[in-house]
């Protein structure tokens, strides 16, 4: 059974966060009849519990559906859902490379946002046909005509016949489907050429091993084909190929040029099947790999420790399992005086970090303490050696340091003009270097800044949102390293240095940070039997101080009419609470104190 290439449409949906990407995906799946309305759980594509809860897509999801068009023909749609966050930009670009077209959703009220543009340019870079769709026309504030003009002016693509829909209400979805057929080109490629397939995602399944999500560009792959990954060199024999049903894998005979599907080949580790790599036949390899592969490296590091020290092996197991599915996650063992045994973990960004942390807590039932996230600093020593520093505790003695460098990003911030002032002030506070501003239209501006990565990994996004009443959006890319005046800020609790709270900071902002951390810790550390000084110090110089006063009262006056069990339960709870504290010297520090300093929100 051969599939007519001209009846295949491979596309993705791109949108600014919250403009309705997942909702439209749901409607398309619903309208094509693969699922009944009753089977539809809201947002079927986001299948991780966490994704659904946060309303974001973390891993690329793909579904194959069959659509009977008005011309009477049946078309195969491969909808490749892309991750919606800057941390996963690379994954987005690989997903796009697997498509011929992109459905661009724009919110009829909000119009074009920073991410709309970023994703759209990314799609144009991949030579995709862009098919605009105006969503949320049911909103009272919807102004589709203005938005259509905006698309034509800013992006420069024809948009007059863009479907005006409400994905939420299921309005005009048919029109979207018809335009997918008429506007998005069918794939090309020779099914008899040597195999060349793009990996755009992979996941680990305990029964099938690694499942490669791929788009076949040239050639054919079927059971028994000996395959090789061109970048990682991993080899295997294909066990099964198939296509994506809604939430299930449906085996088929072969995948040929133009098709999107999966391959299983008893590979044991997703590290072997990196996103962006090319699958080819080891017997008849293609000449060149597909362009665009790069190994993604972690940008943000932090320590992760089990709240209960005895759970250290469990944490290791859990991280290993997560890594099976997440090649970007890195970890290695480390120890902290305050937190015991744990791991230094590397992530693509702060969202990636938060997601891993939540998955550890939810899926593996582990309580995790994380230390302040940091970036990789380059430490140039006086002996001419260079250290890539991921853990502040490993910073050499200042006398051995010639100078240090920190990673920078180029950031673009889209904001309505009324908030340009506050946002510029924020960037200034975060050591931003102003590069320029462009007016996109009368009410909107695009600010360009170079910012140190370590200034944006904490709470920059939150601060941006709060200072722009939610109107600003933000995108960045890495720009390389720059020399910087960096110092290590230490926190002393009751005169003892707490290694897990140390971090690297720019000399100029050290005072401010130190003061805020002390204030925050003062609120988080419960009163104890004695007075506890909390100090921030650079080297031996104390730059800020707060005091936790001694506890005065901890008494349960009432006798509860002989209900001693109730009393016991209260005492047990208290003892349990104490167990969850970390003993540093003779001070008990609650787990959440370590985390609270991550968010030193200012305004």
């Amino acid at each position: 059974m051969s599939i007519d290439q001209s009846k295949i449409r491979n596309f993705c949906i791109i949108a600014h966060i919250d403009h309705g990407k997942s909702t439209l995906a749901d409607r398309i799946i619903e309208k094509t009849g693969l699922l009944t309305s009753r089977e539809m759980q809201a947002q079927v594509l986001d299948n991780m519990e966490l994704e659904r809860e946060r309303g974001i897509t973390i891993k690329a999801q793909t579904v194959r559906i069959v659509y009977k068009a008005n011309d009477g023909e049946e078309y195969i749609f491969n909808l490749i859902d892309t991750p919606g966050h800057v941390d996963f930009n690379y994954e987005v670009s690989r997903s796009l490379a697997a498509c011929e077209g992109a459905v661009l959703i724009v919110d009829a009220a909000q119009g074009i946002e920073a991410q709309t543009l970023a994703n759209c340019y990314l799609a144009i870079d991949h030579n995709l046909e862009i098919m605009p769709v105006i969503n949320k026309i049911d909103l009272p504030s919807a102004d589709p005509d203005r938005v259509i003009n905006e698309i034509e002016d800013i992006i420069g693509i024809e948009a007059q016949d863009a479907p005006r829909i409400s994905a939420k209400m299921g309005l005009n979805i048919e029109e979207v489907l018809e335009q997918i057929v008429s506007k998005i080109p069918a794939p090309k490629g020779d099914k008899n050429a040597s195999l060349q397939a793009l990996i755009f995602d992979s996941l680990y399944d305990s029964y099938k091993g690694v499942i490669i999500f791929c788009r076949v560009m040239e050639g054919t792959v079927k059971r028994g084909t000996p395959i090789q990954m061109m970048a990682t060199k991993a080899k295997a024999e294909v066990v099964e190929v198939g296509i994506f049903g809604a939430g299930q894998f449906i085996p088929c005979d072969e995948l040929s040029a133009g098709m999107v599907g999966y391959i299983t080949a008893s590979l044991k580790n997703v590290k072997d099947t990196r996103v962006g790599d090319t699958v080819t036949s080891s017997e008849n390899p293609c000449k060149e790999p597909l362009p665009g592969y790069k190994k993604v490296n972690p940008m943000v590091y932090c320590g992760m420790y089990p709240a209960d020290g005895a759970k250290y092996p469990d944490l290791r197991d859990a991280l290993e399992k997560l890594q099976l599915n997440d090649a970007a996650l890195q970890f290695e063992a480390e120890t902290s005086i305050a937190l015991g045994f744990g791991f230094r973990c590397g992530f693509l960004g702060l969202l990636h970090l938060e997601i891993i942390q939540e998955r550890l807590e939810r899926e593996y039932n582990l309580d995790i303490v994380t230390t302040a996230p940091g970036v990789i600093y380059k430490v140039y020593k006086t002996d001419n050696s260079v250290i890539e520093l991921t853990n502040p505790s490993n910073l050499p003695d200042p006398s051995e340091i010639a100078y240090m460098e920190e990673p920078m990003v180029s950031a673009e911030i889209m904001v309505t003009t009324e908030f340009v002032g506050p946002i510029m002030q924020l960037c200034q506070e975060r050591r931003g270097v102003y590069l320029g501003m462009e007016y996109m239209e009368e009410t909107r501006a695009l600010l360009k800044y170079d910012l140190p990565l370590n200034e944006i990994i904490y709470d920059f996004f939150d601060a941006l949102k709060s200072r722009s009443k939610g109107y600003a959006s933000f995108d960045y890319e890495m720009k390389g390293y720059e020399r910087s005046e960096l110092v290590k800020l230490d926190i002393l609790i009751n005169k003892e240095e707490v290694d897990a709270l140390s971090f690297i900071v720019h000399a100029e902002t050290a005072y401010e940070r130190g003061r805020k951390m002390c204030e925050k810790l003062k609120d988080e550390i419960p009163r104890q039997l004695f007075e506890i000084p909390i100090q921030a110090a650079i080297g031996s110089k104390v730059i800020a101080r707060e005091t936790v006063k001694a506890m005065r009262k901890d008494v349960l006056a009432k006798c509860y009419g002989g209900d001693i069990s109730r009393k016991r339960k209260l005492l047990e709870k208290q003892k349990e609470g104490k167990k969850r504290m970390r003993q540093v010297g003779n001070v008990e520090i609650p787990q959440k104190a370590f985390m609270s300093v991550l968010k030193l929100d200012d305004k």
């Binding site: 008494v555 349960l556 009432k558």
Partner: protein, 417 residues
Amino acid sequence: MINKEPAVKGISELSYEKSNPRMVEHDRTKKDLGIYIHIPFCERKCNYCDFLSAPADDTVKEKYVSALRNEIRSYQGLANQYNVRTIYIGGGTPSSIHEDYITSILSDLYHIFEIKKKEELEITIEANPGTLTKHKLLSYKDAGINRLSIGLQSANNEELKLLGRIHTFEEFVANYNLARKVGFDNINIDVISSLPNQTEQAYLDSLMKVVALNPEHISSYSLIIEEGTLFEKFYGEGSEHSKELPSEDVDRTIYEDTKTVLKEYGYERYEISNYAKVGFESKHNSSYWTRTEYLGIGLGASSLIGDARYHNENNLNQYIDCVSNQESLRREEEKLSGNNQMEEFMFLGLRMCRGISKKRFCEVFEKDIQEVYGSILTKLLDEKLIMEQEDYICLTERGLDLSNYVFSEFLLDEESE
């Protein structure tokens, strides 16, 4: 402050001292027992109250009392193993039901537990000012009740209103004087401190008005915001009005004031929240701290029988229905392990100002206290939260303030079973 000579003796210890003149002749093979009777009715639920209690109509009250009397009768088999030493009728507001019910409940108890000299027992009833009449008081007296515990809570009418109490201070005074006239010579008055917006001076005014009445016993609790109460909604953590609660510092000052003032007027603190004139310490409550066995009868009442703790059914209708079979009433029965008993010995015993006896610990558990708690005792002594006075270990002033912290230290890890 802390007596060199322990002033209070828990009843279970009294029974070990043959020479005590107050002792009655009784069968040495029998164990001491306290009885608690729960009356879960009140005129109106107070805003801070989380006890098992609610207003009810007369039919429900009647059904309840008859169910309760059935429960009493069902203890026939158990009764002959015990000498009843105290009876405590609590609530709710026991004085809100008809006095004849109280009389019949007590006479059932006397009958089933073969109590012959009721005047040798401490028999307490809790009463709400505003619910007492001369007739009621006389009837209580005839029934054998010899101790009254009146919940005043505050002598300030504004504060009473805030608490949701049904009475004024003046009504209380009238009731109190009536009780004296009728002949009650052992009266406790409950007061609550650290009320919203309460100043040190306002509390002291309240306390002085109470002292002026010269009761034998005063309980002074600081307000606890309990889950599920109206107060929680209003003053609970994070709520708009939570700032109206006095600060920890004011609360502690109030506590210290209470002790100083009451001492001046002849009241000794003998437990964290309890003050009494010499010889008028509550025997029933003390029996909780000394781990004397007690039987809770009625809705939701807690018991310690043998080495098991349990409480009765909490649902009123269920209670009324299934009371014919008292076994089926028991909920959350928990057999106390050896460790549990040692823990209780410590965290209950230390509530009393005279503390716990090391010798007694050894007698009960056949283990030296140092063997079990050596390192913890050393640590707490270092922290000046406890002190040793010959055979006794007791909380220091600071330890009293931080008693939960101290008590939780005595919980043993399960592994060490």
